[in-house]
Symmetry: C2
Subunit: 167 residues, 2 copies
């Protein structure tokens, strides 16, 4: 599979190199709030349920939005490791990631406007199984952290427009 | 339910106001890459599958990490609308959100290092059903956009430490 994945990655990169337009993609998520804090999400043909825990008014039918951000960062790291390890020919036997994020809810609850509502800090722990030399692993880590899309979005502001309409 | 949710929100805010320590929470996501780009995620007792689509080497067993970011933003907007509408006593019959994000994959594929690997821009469309006055809706929109945790994380960099260890 690794050889075929390497060929797929090389072919994809070549198509983006030769036709820049094909590299430009728009992703979409659509969701609708149901009872309480429970939301039903559609992403292409995938469905997700997002909710808040019991105790703060939710029914705990799924992860919270901020937990989805942690999952997005962890899995993006993993996929980026697989992609670059394959492309660079660096052996990668396993990759597992734990992401922790700290929130002070006095920000969200508008108790203290100097406290941000989002994560104050993130800690990412990456466990790599690889027979590669330490130099190759170091090279892999650097290229992954320089190209991980979700890490980029949490490190550099993303221009966002919000349009609200009444229905 | 709305009255009981209002009471829950008021009680939660009061507990955070009187005991700041209780407002400080750490969230965790743990994931492990399986075959190809497929990753199994655990968030408390919730499980998610993340993957890449067919065609770029995935098996499309779930949404991609960048799509999770869109879902996180959309559902965070919705939940924040519910919370503040309830707390402020502003009627809210429905809220549905579509989030679009543009990526130029020449960034991720390291074809052009001037192109960021993450979303270049996000477009959020919020559809609100409410019998409230336009002034109250405007007030709600402002307080939501000022306190939505995921919007904050995508607008203001989150300090992140990444620790890589070999296993």
């Amino acid at each position: 599979m690794s050889e075929s994945l390497a060929a797929t990655i090389a072919a994809t990169a070549e198509s983006f190199r030769s036709e820049a337009k094909s590299a430009q993609r728009t992703f979409v998520s659509a969701s609708r709030l149901g009872d309480g804090f429970r939301s039903a999400v559609s992403i292409r043909d995938h469905a997700l349920t997002v909710d808040e825990p019991h105790g703060i008014g939710g029914s705990d039918a799924g992860p919270t939005p901020v937990e989805l951000v942690l999952a997005a960062l962890g899995t993006c790291q993993e996929i980026t490791y697989r992609a670059f390890a394959t492309a660079l020919g660096i052996p990668l036997d396993s990759v597992a990631v734990t992401v922790e994020g700290d929130i002070d809810f006095r920000g969200f609850f508008a108790i203290d406007e100097t406290i941000r509502p989002g994560f104050q800090r993130l800690r990412v722990q990456v466990a790599l199984g690889s027979t590669a030399s330490q130099a190759d692993v170091d090279r892999l880590v650097a290229v992954v952290n320089g190209h991980c899309p979700v890490l980029d979005m949490l490190s550099t502001p993303v221009p966002t427009t919000i349009d609200v309409r009444r229905v």
